[in-house]
């Protein structure tokens, strides 16, 4: 970080005032970007086929908002399953027991090796494979009997498909994080009498978080959009809700714009959340925390300030 110290200028040699190098390329590039932006905005605003009034009309339509709620629910639950499963699988993967680590490897191999859309269909049609589902002691008494069609509704199938798939990806992310923590940390923790589990929970995982959080944020953003696949198995999420509306009024493009707007808003919020999470887990790693957006504004330089240069 640059220091904010301002030393006295008296008695020091005069600051250099040189004629800056001219950058005609930068001006040209800026001009091209500006012209393109004007062209795009102009066409979007003036093309009557966009029918912005229709977009505005459906933006807060009850069915759209309900679809958005389902999308967010799917995202949160599937990610929660993915993260818990990922932590579990990564710990299994690092286990000294070859059977345990092998099982984890096999899981990851299977769920990363097949398309998530196929997995969604698979869970949706699970009743064809297992018409009856019993939950209980293997080969013993069952506590829950059920018909697969009533137990695994489309929403459940989507949760299973997305969550179990996500677990495989999260496992690799968590494992990379755990491996990134210096071995000396484990030694120190063990020498203090912490058990393996305490060491993992209190010492290794919190430090691994710095490595785990950024890709997990990406995964969450990706998950938010992947939930749109659930529309193919009739889960009434955002895209499905829009589909129901445009199948009646044929305002397909307008409704897709509505949907895109909501997705963009949600991913933008997630970006901000990810920034603060990363900042929180960076404590101790850097001497000073990076400023929050508010602090940056207060300091008088907008978010672009720290990206020095640009075109070179």
């Amino acid at each position: 970080m640059p220091s904010d110290e301002v030393t006295e200028t008296q008695g020091r040699p005069e600051d250099i005032r040189a004629v800056p190098v001219k950058h005609p390329g930068r001006w040209l590039a800026s001009a091209i970007v500006l012209v393109l932006a004007v062209v795009i905005v102009h066409s979007v605003v003036t093309n009557p086929r966009f029918e912005w009034s229709v977009v505005g009309h459906y933006l807060f339509d009850e069915r759209i908002l309900e679809g958005l709620r389902v999308t967010l629910e799917l995202t949160v639950i599937a990610m929660a399953i993915g993260i818990v499963l990922g932590v579990l699988l990564s710990i299994m993967r690092l286990s000294p027991n070859p059977l345990v680590s092998g099982a984890s490897w096999l899981y990851i191999w299977f769920f990363r090796g097949t398309p998530v859309l196929v997995q969604l269909f698979f869970w949706y049609f699970i009743a064809a494979l297992y018409p009856k589902i019993d939950i209980g002691i293997p080969f013993g008494t069952a506590f829950i009997h059920g018909n697969a069609n009533t137990l695994v509704k489309p929403f459940t199938a989507a949760i299973l498909g997305l969550g179990l798939n996500e677990g495989a990806y999260m496992a690799e992310i968590v494992r990379a994080g755990i491996i990134s923590v210096d071995e000396g940390q484990t030694l120190a923790a063990q020498s203090l009498g912490l058990t393996r589990l305490q060491t993992l929970r209190r010492i290794v995982l919190p430090q691994a978080m710095r490595v785990i959080i950024p890709p997990t944020g990406n995964e969450t953003i990706s998950m938010l959009k992947t939930t749109a696949l659930a529309s193919t198995i009739a889960v009434p999420e955002l895209l499905y809700a829009a589909g129901i509306i445009y199948s009646v009024n044929f305002k397909t493009i307008q409704l897709l714009i509505v949907v895109s707007g909501w997705y963009l808003l949600c991913t933008s919020i997630l970006y901000v959340g990810q920034y603060y999470l990363e900042r929180y887990f960076a404590r101790g790693a850097a001497r000073e925390l990076s400023p929050t957006a508010l602090q940056r504004l207060r300091a008088g330089w907008l978010s672009y300030g720290h990206h020095e240069g640009g075109i070179r």
Partner: protein, 254 residues
Amino acid sequence: MSGPMVKAEGVHKRFGRLEVLKGITLEVRKGEVMCLLGPSGSGKSTFLRCINHLEKINSGRLSVDGELVGYRQVGDKLHELRESEVARKRAGIGMVFQHFNLFPHMTALENVTCAPIRVKKVPRADARARAQELLARVGLAEKAGAYPAQLSGGQQQRVAIARALAMEPKLMLFDEPTSALDPELVGDVLEAMQQLARDGMTMIVVTHEMGFAREVADTVVFMDGGVVLESGRPADVIGHPRHERTRSFLSKVL
């Protein structure tokens, strides 16, 4: 006084086919300060790690305060200790590392209180009060809220000493505690260790600080190639080494 704090008899340690310890036999009395000297690769650090079972020994007997390290003897059979039992024994032995290994996501105070709270289940307030005391003892009372990255190497190492002391160990192991420090920061750490020795702590110190060994150690052990070449009072081993190997090593470091 009762038996020795550490007793090693013919301790062997192999990493794959590489034999690092080839029969170490030594005793550390209670309250004694022992310095382990020797070239790198002589097995000093490995021996230190064997004492709190961070490394498993392959043969021989190693005991701390009369109890075998890592095993329980029933009849003439050795039974491996469970992880929780190993952890409990480790809690009674403090260790200080060359690269400090402070927990970077915790403040100095949290580093010191972590193990007492998690392992000994000491109430949080008591642990904090005790940690403040320990930090004051190593001269870092004002740095309680600082993260390791905000401390100098010497300060980090003193926090590490306080962290180990917070578990009220009966034995302290130091693995080259000053080797990673700038020369001008070494003094503060050695002073903290000297204070500890004066307070009667049993200490085993792997070090290249000959001044410290001469002044503070009760016994100096010279190791080379996985065996103890000679041991005795510092004045004898450092002042009048009997082995040619010891002489040549000392002539390089003194």
